[in-house]
Assembly symmetry: C2
Homo-oligomer: 333 residues x 2
């Protein structure tokens, strides 16, 4: 079985990244992180047998196959490059990087070393309803996918956020950060290898005391005959009992699928609600048992040097488009 280590646990996504690999039987060899991130107490409680180690020692350990990275977004590229140059494959938290220059450097290192640079887009890979939706789309259950509408609200929790969360240069901007989830889903569900960002916008409408925060963002994408609209925000209100009412609507020529990923307000309990309507079916499906194949596939890829979890080119394209959207929104391109 493969062994993995973590470099940087600054974002809570490290919990899901590590837990899902452990569930597949992988070994958690150790972690390094910079300073004392807010996540540290939760991390040591959740993974009490995993030791904090020297970064160089983890990179030098020949028995470690895979490096997880959930450092501050702006620092992830350097860590990924160091890991690949040390012969390790990489699973990064999103965003995998925050600038096109970082992306180019990652790509150069990846191509040179032949290592895997994967991003655990948790809003796809850690959502069983997405697994079921992908199966249904692949079966042709809704015809050809014409459009996806991705609504990605998030709870701000400003009081518990570290300083870097409000620093544009460090978190990368709302479209690079949480928008990249939605771009990943658009490309994947429409079968697109590229897309044009037609519209990108960011703003801070509700949080003037955090001027570095962008609390609203939108993106319009087109790829051939496939259309995508993305709206992300940090407005999730207090009464919602989870961090965000994430929605994805997939419109096909012969039907549609809606995902209520994390909650169905006033409806069925639990997560992973999938609404399917086509010529023969009109129903709500509990997709919570559809599994999370990304993690086992990535382990297979590490062993077999394949690309079953996520094509390498897709990972590049999702991050490239997210960063380009961010630049377009900020007028820097």
């Amino acid at each position: 079985m493969i062994r993995f280590a973590a470099l940087g646990i600054d974002h809570r996504h490290i919990f899901g990244m590590a837990a899902n690999l452990l569930a597949e039987g992988a070994d958690f060899a150790g972690y390094w992180t910079d300073g004392t991130p807010e996540t540290l107490a939760g991390f040591t409680k959740r993974f009490p047998n995993v030791s904090r180690c020297d970064k160089a020692a983890l990179l030098a350990d020949p028995d470690i196959d895979l490096i997880l990275i959930s450092a501050v977004p702006a620092d992830r590229a350097d860590l990924a490059i160091a890991a690949m140059r040390s012969g390790k494959d990489v699973m990064s938290d999103k965003p995998g990087c925050t600038t096109l220059a970082q992306l180019d450097a990652i790509r150069a290192a990846q191509e040179e070393t032949g290592r895997i640079w994967s991003i655990d887009f948790s809003e796809r890979f850690e959502v069983p309803a997405m697994t079921r939706a992908a199966e249904l789309v692949a079966e042709g259950a809704i015809g050809r996918v014409v459009q996806t509408t991705g609504l990605g609200p998030h709870r701000l929790n400003a009081a518990t956020r570290p300083d870097w969360f409000f620093d544009r240069a460090r978190y990368g901007g709302i479209l690079t950060d949480i928008g990249s989830h939605q771009i990943d889903q658009f490309l994947f569900l429409t079968g697109s290898t590229d897309a044009t960002v037609l519209r990108a916008y960011v703003a801070n409408y509700a949080n003037p005391i955090h001027p570095g925060l962008q609390d609203f963002g939108e993106i319009v994408l087109q790829s051939g005959d496939a259309h995508g609209y993305i709206r992300v925000d940090w407005y999730t209100p207090d009464a919602l009992p989870t961090w965000g009412d994430g929605r994805l609507t997939i419109l096909g020529t012969e039907g549609y699928i809606e995902l209520r990923k994390y909650i169905d307000v006033g409806g069925t309990k639990g997560t992973d609600h999938l609404i399917l309507v086509n010529g023969a079916r009109c129903e709500k499906v509990d997709a919570s048992d559809a599994g999370l194949p990304y993690f086992a596939r990535l382990i297979d890829d590490i062993r077999n040097r394949t690309e079953t979890a996520m094509p390498q080119a897709h990972t590049y394209k999702a991050m490239e488009l997210a960063i380009r959207a961010q630049m377009l929104a900020e007028g820097t391109t």
Copy 2:
């Protein structure tokens, strides 16, 4: 009580327009229509005591206050102008017209005569959940409205549609036609008196045998700090037990509202499902009892020469933006 007549019953919306006025106590004096539209049998069954009349006689009748128009879209402007020049107020089916030249002519006639030119945007005015949503927004239940996402799927029913339905010049294009509903809702809910159409697109992806049909359309709007995304289509699949799973999501800085206007697939029965989440509430609300104040307000406006049902300027702006979006999508502007 006011008396009304209908000129043109080519679209089934005439049923709701007339029935809602009758429910407010208005009298249906008679109707004229061109030829034998597909709606005629249903109309005479629903309104057995309403006689077919001569158009000129209806326009000349001094006891008729209001003319309803649900003719072929391209013909509505001339009828509206004739009605206003005959001293009648007008309630038109959407789209109220199909070209900017028609809109200019309507405006000239309306300003000259001081008559009311109103459009019964049925996806707002005939949906009780919209009434409740508007009340909640006005109360500040979700803070300032930042964005609306309107998804307007419709069932094609190609076999039962008249020829004009597939003739771009006669129905006006998908954005002018069903897109105008969504523009009306965006302007209304965001309190906008104007907006910029940033993106507009139309296509025929699934119906090549009807080359005049546009079966997919999208619009991106911005008005100051208010954003709008609109997607309309003719893909409603057979298994859905109603004509379309119309949705509207209203994002505010302090909460959000979702409307499942006509159906809640796999959920609660009935129509007018409103999901409200804010700082204190997280619930599904049955809004089917919220009423349809547009009709009583229009009757009051007819009597009192006021603009409580819908400001005249709003009606112009909604149609202007819909037609401009259509032109932008078709590259004619």
